[in-house]
Point group: C2
DNA sequence: ACCTGAACACCGTTCAAGT
DNA sequence: ACCTGAACACCGTTCAAGT
């Protein structure tokens, strides 16, 4: 019994699995072929080249984010959608740096922005206001997850990393960073991810205010 | 006359110039050596490896961003600083995707966050409020520039790209995107970069409100 | 129509050898 | 102390050859 026939979808799914497990740097056509039980060159029957594969991977990530319902209230629709966006992006940590290099948006990306705009406009946002809203919300979620990934606040090794940093950079040169680390970040129960909801609500409040003032 | 002696700083500067000109993907140790009139292997006398070089490049970008003055008003200090951050990141478009993979922050990065926290705390922000402010502002600026780079709204070819997109994805399936393109984005004088200031002011307004309500 | 082996033009990095 | 040439283990991608 041979393995199931290769399809574009199977190739893309395997690539996402490999990137999730080992990071985007470790994703090579040769290793991807191996994980599918096939020579690397066979993949070229299903994707044009590696760029085409990366495009498809990014669009598959967009497809995981639930669409807002234009018939719902804009804030009730958008808030959970952006919380979900953060979770999806954390699940596929390789995706954000890839997004900047994709020239042409994929189908799932377009479907998302269409639904987002439809929801805003159905709730009284003008085109100008909708452009503002889209721009600040999308910017925030991508940047937050990027920052979140880069910060050493992740997981249980906060204390060790903080210690290493403080050892390298003396406390007296960075008193505010030291205070932030010891008196805030390292306090029990602190989770940097909680900052996401705080900033999201700040932005949604601002958008609500702008919508009211103009409408 | 031989070329000036190689130093770590010269290597990092040449690498930044090469990345600015040709993108991060095109930056290889071999090409970097060539641009310095030296074999690739010589570079290893000045940087530990390519990761070390990328760390130094990212920190050099941070060093280009002006520091806020803790003695100034927080909003007067932070607003121009974040406008400048956007400009620096646009000048070095390869930097943002690199930031997520840097585990250990460099000296310029630490100096920035120290000055930022000092300015906020000198202006009455608690540690908790300062963490909120840092998180939402940094997330926003990195994400905005990432989005800005990915969007095809850049330069003079807006019309062509929009046309190509509409050709590929029929207007009747994406009526709101089509309206946004033709009635807003493609209007004379529209500049997506202007959205940055709008969102920045929205966030600063929200932070001011949070500071007042708590203080 | 799909898969493969060999080949090409690249990578980052090591190491012993030069000066 | 710094630079180099050869070498190693990788890349993405092509192309003619197989089935």
């Amino acid at each position: 019994m041979a393995r199931a026939a290769l399809t574009r979808q199977r190739v893309v799914e395997a690539a996402i699995g490999l990137a999730d497990a080992t990071g985007a740097e470790a994703l090579s056509m040769r290793k991807l072929g191996e994980s599918l039980g096939v020579e690397a060159m066979s993949l070229y029957n299903h994707v044009r080249n590696k760029e085409d594969l990366l495009d498809a991977m990014v669009d598959a990530v967009y497809a995981e984010i639930p669409l807002p319902d234009p018939a719902g209230g804009w804030r009730d629709e958008l808030r959970p959608r952006y919380l979900a966006t953060r979770e999806v992006l954390l699940r596929h940590r390789w995706a954000i740096p890839l997004m900047e290099s994709r020239a042409m948006p994929g189908a799932a990306n377009l479907a998302h922005h269409e639904a987002l705009l439809a929801c805003l406009r159905a709730n009284g946002f003008s085109l100008t206001q909708a452009a503002h809203a889209y721009s600040v919300l999308d910017g925030y979620v991508y940047g937050f997850v990027l920052t979140e990934k880069a910060l050493p606040f992740d997981g249980d090794d906060v204390a060790e990393v903080a210690q290493a940093m403080l050892a390298q950079f003396p406390v007296d040169r960075f008193p505010n960073l030291a205070a932030m680390a010891s008196e805030h970040v390292m306090q029990p129960g602190y989770d940097y991810g909680d900052e996401f909801g705080w900033g999201l609500d700040l932005i949604l409040d601002g958008l609500e205010r702008a919508r009211r003032d103009a409408g």
